[in-house]
Point group: C2
Chain length 120, copies 2
């Protein structure tokens, strides 16, 4: 667990989109990496803040009242309870940090919901 | 809280070393940025894992039985209870993610211990 994790190298290990991979445990949270492209589903997390760190590309985080744009080297914390829907320009690589209990689609269970995350 | 945080821009806002700045809240944790140079103090955190993401430079994380080296784009999770002592080559910029309760020097209170973290 105390080894060095190279983020770019981890991203070479998978190509499926909207399917976060666990790369490390951090207290009650998981550190996950994901490749995403296009628009996700609107959802919120009742009790959990969610951090999106942009490793590559441009992410538009849509909220009901506005959209914020994050690029490589930037991050967003989506506060608990706030409805959001990520949308990208091309494929975007992100690091997610969120409680182990978090389902990535939050309150919205859809065909995109991944219930068990793969570890890489 | 749902704004975009640009890591490089935050690093232009301070120059003091070994004095982590809080840039965001994430559930029970803080996201902090720090500039560090040289060798820190040996310490451990009894109940908390600590994440070091390298934004710039090269960090040698010394454990009692080995040393691991992390460079830009890499991260380390130091597991709870494990004694460690960061050491750098020149100035290194890091992002730290750790529970709000964490004192950066862990069980070792020294002249370097910062008890109240500044927010930027």
């Amino acid at each position: 667990m105390s080894d060095v994790i190279n983020i770019a190298e981890k991203f070479t290990q998978f190509s499926d989109q909207w399917s976060p991979k666990i790369v490390a445990d951090l207290n009650d949270s998981h550190i996950k990496l994901a490749k995403i492209e296009g628009e996700f589903v609107w959802h919120h997390h009742e009790h959990e803040d969610e951090m999106f760190l942009i490793i590559k590309g441009t992410l538009h985080m849509q909220y009901r009242d506005r959209t914020v744009t994050a690029r490589e080297g930037e991050f967003i914390v989506v506060p608990k309870g706030v409805e959001h829907c990520p949308k990208t320009e091309g494929e975007v690589h992100i690091m997610l940090i969120e409680p182990k209990s978090t389902l990535h689609t939050g309150d919205t269970v859809s065909e995109r919901t991944v219930k068990e995350y793969q570890r890489i």
